[in-house]
Amino acid sequence: MNILNLFIIIPMLTVGGILLTKDLKQSRLVSAIGMGFQLILSFVLVYLYLKERHAGNTAAMLFTYDVLWFPSLNIHYALGVDGISVAMIALTGIVVFAGIFASWKMELLPREFFISLIILASGVFGFFISLDLFTMFLFYELAVIPMYLLIGIWGSGPKEYSAMKLTLMLMAGSAMLLVGLLGIYFFSSPDPHALTFNLLEISKIHIPIGMQRFLFPFTFIGFGILGALFPFHTWSPDGHASAPTAVSMLHAGVLMKLGGYGAFRVAIFLMPEAAHEQAWIFLILTAISVVYGAFSAIVQTDLKYINAYSSVSHCGLVLFAVLMMNQTAMNGAIVQMISHGLMTALFFALIGMIYGRTHTRLINEMGGLMKVIPFLGVVYVIAGLASLGLPGFSGFVAEMIIFVGSFQHTDVFHRVITIIAASSIVITAVYILRVVGTLLLGPIKNDHFLHLEDAKWYERISTITLVIAITAIGTAPYWLTDMINFSLVPIVQKLSSIQLTSLN
């Protein structure tokens, strides 16, 4: 049995298990066990992957599994992973695991909640292990749709509006994406009877440049909407603000990464010439995302809005780096995806926990919480410092790789825009410190807060898992970047060979 299939089967079994449960206690236990398995499995996968690589296996994708599904259309259920997807899977495993613990006290319709959450997770897992664009797209949509219920039922504030907006905007994104994918499919082979959705096979083909020019924006924006590309990001603040804790964690933590991953795996990898031609437009947009998101975050007063805008900024950096199209920057993009996934999940988890205690998310109404809930306070500071790119945490590693990589371009445009994007680190510091200063430090503003309880054991599990992951990447990034680098080589080779031929 191929290990990758387990990533689909375990969530299914978990969902089945939850269906048999009766109440919150049982369903959360089943979910925790199921997702705990999934987490372990993710790390087993990392281990097996590294072992295989050490054994000298240099295939682009490992653990491939291929079943012909729709023979007439040559649609396969094709799985396979490389270093990049392995890393993303590990991220997903961690965030989902933490998310389950963050929703330990989900009183309202717990079974339905956990089922939706796990369906969402399985969509994400499926997306990352897919090699076939069709299955990839299927999983992509599968991941998006439970979102509506998760926000609509278990959310807060204007949840119905936010849920609808989020779902519709993401679906509009997948509309564009679908056009792009179909276009790629019909030009995936000169022989009309040998069309394929398989990523690796398409990557060997040269899609006609005229078609690329047409399809690239569709594909890129399609993925970009999920990756919060300016100006299509507005679903994100509302959606995140309304979503329940675990959903925000999963959504910002892993679902938004589908955008960056897809933009890079599909849009740029398969249509490199168009990517080279049009990169400047999207670079400008992403640079705007980066700076604009950060500036917007400065004046927000709702914790979730702050974090949502910060996600816009950070995810903008992912797309930004992807568009730089050199090995280092792309590596940085992936590290940034992982790093941001962990950080933002941690943030949302903490916000949920704080909100559960203070019943407000407005920073102006809070203050001095460090004194009463020191554990959460300290972890919040850690998350903040990670987010503003402090060495020792993953954010620094990611940002530095991105900036150094982006700066390796010889032309002025790329370098100037890199500097503009880099300036976001200052703005990030401003809003992070503003939050930390107002929320945690200073005198206690409200007497009700004097009797708050510090984190419970399940909350500690949730946060500590994430903190460990963040610091692990931050202090020892070498193994991660190496793993990613190895898999980037063929991709970058393709990109650079295109560059050379187009010059000739």
Partner: protein, 637 residues
């Protein structure tokens, strides 16, 4: 000689930090304090061992001091050429810095056991101190510029944590935020500088960068932008980072506010070690500056010179004793920067370089002493304001003596160490740029004046009435004062010109009396004026303030720099950038999305009349549809 063990100099504090951070809250405070102090004591011992070893024991006389990589591991592979390493670089300046940092840090640790006694955050304080020590040691030992940047940021955050140590005090929180953000802004410059430098030279490594025949300096030529080469620009950007950390104009505004932190912290971070990181950075890259981009070095010199006189003027008017010391620090660091800026490379030419480091060394001693002394005073009278003090020499004899020594040292009175180092700086400035020399000469006088204004204000004056009688600090606090006083007195006799030079080779240096005597004189004049004005309470200060009303007011308000910054941040960034962007996002971008939905809804409602329920209308539409199709076909065929 194998220097791998130097790895432990930063690592020991790091482990102490982890231990205290994770388990400190379960320990009795004194245990936490002892663990911290002992850990740092170990580092200190190792540092001294290294210094003796490096400078004397294993050094072959008459040869240049080598730059040795004691240890290095790759940490992050970036591009084919660029890899970030973590390691330990042993060379004269880093060894000197080791000594400075561990000495001052150890003193501060010991002192804090007394000073922080009874504070609920005792263990936290020591863990932060350890974190800082780790970061700072990592910074000075960095083998490459990126490692330096990494620790640079860590230093920044530990400074942030320590300034905001009293986190329930809004002013402390604000100050820590300000310090972090201002230095962060400067760090952006540093980062851009690193990006440019590494892109053009293909290396982060200090040894390669500073090699006079290496790629960085060899490729220095060529004009890139505004008449300066890429190398110059990248160095200027890097210097921006240094200026931020070292509180050079215009990034200095965080330093006075940073005095909100506990006084030992001010002594350690904001006087002796972290704030000189900028100086250290320029010194570290000095060959590149001097040989590759003299223009950048001019910038360094002028910024340093301006900052020193600017800060000195403000220091004359401040009434908070820690703020006076803070401005004094800024002024002295200006000195060091200036010294670097006027220096050349190699041998006698490198006098400024040597002087700068010399002054860094002595300044660390006497400024830490001043701060710790001030801490003892504050500990005794529970106030920072000069107006609340007076006549304390009776109550605090040891503090008084050591403080006086420190004041004399900073005023440049022989034979105290400040005299020697300052004299070298003036000599270097005189050689290179008379204008800067003149400025520094005036600053020397101002320094003596404001230090003694402070001294008299605290220890003399008339006021004798206190709520409860001030008492001398406990031994654990006074012993560090005495040790540092010892250092302040005798550090001047160290043969720095043989130890820390721009190219590692020693050179002959002697006191140039033509410069030394006037500088001592102006110091004495400054002291004298202060004595007349402040020894006993007279009306002269007020009259002076009246007669130079505007100048006094401007200086007292720190030349309105805080207001300028407030204007920039509150008004421009918050009100004119962020708020409009947030508004734009909500109403224009999001409004467009909602607008599309709204238009669709509106259309849906406005076309509902089409479905009128009338059978014949349906038939009419049916027939018209057919006709239209026919027309289209007619057009097509």
């Amino acid at each position: 000689m194998d220097y791998t063990y130097t790895l432990f100099i930063p690592l020991i504090p790091f482990f102490v930090f982890l231990v205290l951070g994770l388990m400190g809250h379960k320990m009795p405070p004194i245990v936490a304090g002892l663990i911290g102090t002992l850990g740092l004591g170990l580092s200190t011992v190792l540092s001294y061992f290294t210094a003796i070893n490096y400078f004397w024991t294993s050094h072959v006389p008459e040869t240049a001091y080598a730059s040795i990589k004691g240890f290095e591991v790759p940490w992050l592979h970036l591009t084919e050429k660029l890899t970030i390493h973590l390691g330990v670089l042993i060379d004269p300046i880093s060894v000197m810095m080791l000594v400075v940092i561990t000495t001052v840090s150890l003193m501060v640790h010991i002192y804090s056991i007394g000073y922080m006694k009874g504070d609920p955050g005792f263990y936290r304080f020591f863990s932060f101190l350890s974190l800082f020590s780790f970061s700072m040691l990592g910074l000075v030992l960095a083998t490459n510029i990126f490692q330096m940047y990494i620790f640079w940021e860590l230093v920044g955050v530990s400074s942030f944590l320590l300034i905001g140590f009293y986190y329930e005090k809004p002013s402390a929180v604000a100050a820590s935020k300000k310090a972090f953000i201002v230095t962060r802004f400067a760090d952006l410059g540093f980062l851009i500088g690193i990006l440019m430098l590494s892109f053009n030279t293909g290396t982060f490594d200090f040894q390669t960068l500073t090699d006079p025949h290496g790629p960085a300096i060899a490729q220095a030529g060529g004009v890139a932008f505004m008449g300066m080469s890429v190398l110059t620009w990248s160095l200027i950007f890097i210097f921006v980072g240094g200026a931020g950390k070292s509180a050079m104009f215009p990034f200095h505004i965080w330093l006075p506010d940073a005095m909100e932190g506990p006084t030992p912290v001010s002594a350690l971070i904001h006087a002796a070690t972290m704030v000189v990181a900028g100086v250290y950075l320029v010194a570290r890259l000095f060959p590149v500056f001097a040989l590759g981009a003299p223009d950048a070095l001019h910038v360094v010199a002028w910024i340093g010179g301006f900052s020193s006189i600017f800060a000195a003027m403000i220091a004359c008017t401040q009434t908070d004793i820690k703020r006076v010391l803070a401005y004094s620090t800024m002024s002295q660091i200006g000195y060091m920067m200036l010294a670097l800026g006027v220096s050349g490379y190699g041998g006698e030419e490198g006098l400024g370089f040597m002087a700068s480091n010399f002054h860094l060394f002595t300044h660390a001693m006497f400024k830490a002493l001043l701060f710790l002394g001030a801490g003892a005073v504050i500990h005794a009278v529970h106030s920072n304001e000069i107006g609340d003090m007076g006549n304390l020499r009776k109550y605090l004899p040891i503090t008084h003596m050591t403080f006086l020594i420190a004041c004399l040292t900073i005023a440049g009175i022989p034979p105290f160490s400040g005299f020697f180092s300052k004299d070298e700086i003036l000599a270097a400035a005189f050689r290179d740029n008379k204008m800067l020399f003149a400025i520094e000469y005036i600053v020397a006088g101002l320094t003596a004046f404001y230090m003694f204004r402070l001294y008299y204000g605290i220890f003399w004056g008339k006021k004798t009435h206190y709520h409860h009688t001030p008492h001398e600090a406990p031994k654990v606090m006074t012993i560090p004062l005495l040790i540092l006083a010892f250092g302040s007195v005798f550090a001047g006799f160290l043969p720095f010109h043989n130890l820390v030079t721009s190219d590692g080779k020693g050179f002959e240096s002697h006191i140039d009396w033509m410069i030394a005597i006037p500088s001592v004189l102006i110091g004495v004049v400054g002291i004298a004026i202060a004595t007349v004005m402040y020894k006993s309470e007279t009306a002269i200060p007020d009259k002076m303030a009246q007669s130079f009303k505007h100048l006094y007011k401007w200086a007292h308000r720190k030349f309105y720099m805080d207001e300028v910054y407030l204007f920039v941040t509150r008004k421009i960034i918050f009100r004119y950038i962020s708020t409009p962007i947030a508004w734009f996002d909500r109403h224009i971008v999001d409004g467009t999305m909602n607008g599309i939905a709204g238009i669709i809804q509106y259309t849906a409602y406005s076309i509902k009349g089409l479905q009128s329920g009338k059978l014949q209308q349906y038939a009419f539409v049916f027939v018209s549809g057919t006709v239209i199709l026919v027309l289209i076909f007619v057009y097509l065929v």
